[in-house]
Subunit: 144 residues, 12 copies
């Protein structure tokens, strides 16, 4: 049976490529998702992709991954730094979770240096732009 | 006229009994709600129960309790520590409010030690699992 | 062509005039909005007004202002102090943004002294009650 | 065999009803103890009650509960915030311990917000006046 | 009888238009004062204007406003962040006081983020350049 | 009727004149008490004097001053910085209380700079050696 | 030869009796100075009194006390908490210096709890209103 | 003449061997004291041993060591971290003092990492269980 | 021409597989290096590998990469958190640098949560064991 | 045309040689100024010297250096640590500014370790007594 | 088979007896080492002694103790407070480790109060000069 | 006999002129050393120059200056902020030591604002580029 993974994009990522391109690059979210789907096909993984600006929806999408997906790629964007609810939902899962950030969060404002998720995920990949998702899927594929 | 109280369960509590049973116990939310309804009947209180993973929905449910309920049991879970919006909604009420936590939050991560609600509620009951709701209803019944 | 501005009221402001009148005054949100619309007419500005208790909805309303409005008046209320997601949405805009607070937030609890928005908006107007929105529109009209 | 519980009142509680009634209520310690004894009889629990202003005496009374009592209700009052010795004595016990506070300590001075006992007790009940002891006995009776 | 207001400019504002024009704009203090006087005439307010680099002189000018002026616009510049003496003088007044800052102080060095005046004034207007004084006079005119 | 005041000396003050004379002076506690009694006679005040090294005894002595003494001079020594129980007992009194320290506590270790009593007493006299008690009695005599 | 002492009143004390009488009492500075002069006569001390709102003038008045006065009573008011320059001038003197505060500064805002002078003066008298100056002169008279 | 040393055991050490044996070992206080007396005999030292749960008694026992003992072994247990009164009593002594802790306090809760005694004793021995007392006596014997 | 990359292993990594295998896994450094070389061959990259326990040697190895290598994989281990000298050497380079950590440093002691390198490298990969180096090389290969 | 430099001495420096000679040396300000003038002559620089105890006067003297002097030597003494107004005046200048301190401020009280000027001046010379001014003039002469 | 222990002296200890004798005593390192060897002979322990000023060399010497020595005495001197690399090497060992400091580090600068090693060693001996090594060997001999 | 001084350059200074020229200037270390030797000749001082990237080597070079050199110029670069070992070595010397920094460290990252050396050296010269060494030698020549 093919393995199934879930990719979650957090708030404001729907505007990727539009928002501060000098920070996040000019690639749109559709383009990034296209590359993710391609890599999924190459690695023979089924990939579901979800974007939301609502903390509660992200919580529920993570809850629903239980028993349905074998791995999670999570870029919670701004909620990385403020949402204990998302952290609690992640802690519910018993599958590997990779935290991804497009920009190097350690070069930005101090309030972005601390992740509430970092100590409940498997690992973190930071600073490689949209490519970070692909590295994350490689990492997952070695873990599931 | 019978008094009416409201019980609110915050984010991820829909998975009670599933999520980290070593922390929260194996009782499901349905089982807990059953005991709550039973106690309501014994004390001749009408009880409304609400669960949500969405901060905004909890804010609005609290707002709507104005003029409708005589007491509130609030387990805001993760939002306890991050939501000033829920705190502001609680401060709007002029009925007794009991803050309940299933686990002893002081045995857990430091960011769970501080409640943004604690100084706007009437009292706090912490660490007695699902039984905490029942103690909270007893406390309310003495106040309304 | 007439300029168009957007006014956003954050969580619990739907209860203005009800909630802690000693802090926020007795004027209702409808009354405040009426004055805002009047001033808009006088200054020949089109004004859209939006209220929400949901962080995600505020994020999306700000996102949608791109290319549609020439200025934003934002009273994010409780989310001022907790939402990096709203901050990120504001940083996306290239129109002037005025942060408004009804009460003098520096006379209140310490957690209300720090705004996550203050350094991404154009300016801040604090402490003048509902009149603050009108001053904000005056400020915007000089900037757009 | 009937179960036996111990109730300890810490420093200055001998003046309950006298001391700052706007904070602690007008009920005297004798009145509170009367209600405690009544509830004990109703629940068929033997209850011992002890008050002291001396940290060392409280330490020793807790030590002596070992092998003698099946549960402890502890309102350490001021020593809650300063006594590691009492904390260490509590940690010695292998019976359930309920920490009780009459007033909502989170509405008071910052140095009362932190309890040195909170993470070694079973649970905490705060803000319900003398009634808090009764809720605590209910909680204990479910645990022993 | 016409109302009378006082405008105080703090240290280094005598060099407005010269000093760091990228921060404060190129308008000189004389030009700003001209606009203030014009607005005063339009609103039928008498306006006194005072500039000083000396903390003690500002203290005394504020003291002397007692019984003489109906409102105060105060831009204490650097002394905003260091002078308890000016704060104490402001607290002496029983007329409305508007704190004005030309630049958005929250975009600048951290030591400029905290105002010793903010919790003793009526309200604060920040980030609108010389126009901030005019908004402040509008705000005052609604309060006196 | 003659007024009656109470003087309390805290821990280690029984060794005054012995202990670190370069800090506290060479005068013994008996000598200091003699001067206190003399001044009491001159001002026609009855004076009770009490020394203890036990926090609980000091708490109870302060409790007992209720209805018995018209003023209290309190040098709680080391307990000044650690005893919330003594603070709570002081807050019970409705008579003037003068906090006295022999040495200038602000020239000593940082943990002696903060007094838990300072904001519940009437006033504080620090740094004048045994003479501080006499100044304290003068201060009391003007208040009772 | 008669001893000579200097009394310095800091900023805003010229308005004593006017400013926040609930904090500082209704006695004017002239009345306080009258009592100071009376006590000086009784103790056969020459007394010079000086008030200023200017930090620099206070610095220089303290400098000039060298070789001219035998003791200093200093109520630096707001400058107590902000002026290292006054602290440095005090450290220049080799005569006893008594720091006086009218109100109990420990009951007020946190920024008034710390004195930059406290560890360079002989002693501190706080919380006895205008009477504090008289206690200070008594203290000085025992030291010079 | 034989030298005489004093060994003080602080609060809860009367339950050694009972209390959390995984932290403190299974050896009882009597067994430890037996080894201490044996070593005293071997080194020809007279040894007095004292245990108390009362801060005040420990203060007075230390005070009484003046002129009577030539060295002190002090395990103040919980009071190590909270008692300035014991610290002050230690500072009174002019004999060598060795601070002993059974467990490695740096592996435990943060509030046990700081000792109020450490900078007034001669040296500190931590983490060697009951054997620490014996090492302490060896250390003393080289110093007296 | 083939691209050349450098892999640096910091202090104690020579004992990989030996040291705390529950934290770092049982794979030895030789095994990890073998996989690195294999991947290099597959991606047609020349790979140099260096391990040192000496801060100064790591500084100099990084300095020497200038003009010689096209990318750097740096696992500075303990020096990540303490070495500004290594940070300065990294800042000298104008080639992409990937910071790798075997374990999830955010699950470990607080002093390992802060990296002095994080804001001068291109990106960071944390928590994937020896596989992290391979992901790092994939990341580099997309950047050079 | 000869270059012109300005030397400013801050508060209490008029008493140099008198004040704490163990800290600042026995040389008077006149003697230091003599050496400064001599060096100016040798380097063919015109030198103006100014001393003040008034923050406002120092602000204005710095303002007036604009267009008049080619370099500034500034020893702001106590104001170094408290005056944002002087900092703002320095930031106005576009000539080199050398901050000089007579004593090594890092060996003194912690509040003297932080300079509000340090990041707006060209460089800092600390700890060489009066000679520091001469080194500063040498430094300036290489910059103007 | 005889047991073998290792003693490591950290940076600047090669100058023992020379460096600040008022802090460390006048005994040279050779003299201390002589006493260590003597005690080793008496206790029938083989002793290796190593001194280095290089962090990397100390790391490697600790690494090499694995499988070779039965106990370690470590005085890491300045590196105690700064070296996570040495801490990591110690954590690799499964033999008892005793941390020794010559001076009482708690009487010295604040940055010497915190040891990065304290929670990974068996125990700590502080403040007994060169004798501390001998006590450490006694402690080890009871553990191996 | 000619005086002899030592100049030490810390880590990464071997790349001066290469590394971030916008921060440190384009002058190479050789060029700087040439100017140092020239000035030495002019002042008739023998000058030894040493550069190292190794903390231990710098420690030992400083140790060896004892009895051999009459003054030390120390630019410890990155080690300024992290090395207590170098600080201890400096404290061993009884010759004047001048701390030099090329850039104004107070304009850079916060972790460069604190020097572990500052309170054990004679004085500090910061922000004058390579010229800072020459000023340091001038300063030394007045002290030896």
């Amino acid at each position: 049976m093919r393995k199934k993974i879930l990719v979650i994009h957090g708030p404001n990522l729907n505007l990727l490529g539009v928002r501060e391109p000098q920070v996040y690059g000019a690639q749109t979210l559709d383009a990034v998702n296209g590359e993710i789907m391609d890599l999924g096909r190459r690695l023979e993984l089924d990939v579901d992709i979800f974007q939301s600006n609502h903390e509660g929806e992200i919580v529920e999408t993570i809850q629903n991954a239980r028993g349905r997906h074998h791995g999670l790629i999570l870029n919670a964007a701004a909620y990385t730094h403020t949402s204990i609810a998302i952290r609690d939902a992640v802690a519910l899962l018993d599958i590997p979770v990779v935290e991804v950030h497009l920009s190097n969060i350690y070069k930005r404002e101090p309030f972005r240096h601390h992740s509430l998720l970092a100590d409940v995920v498997t690992g973190q990949i930071t600073g490689f732009g949209g490519r970070g998702y692909l590295l994350g899927i490689h990492a997952l594929s070695g873990l599931i």
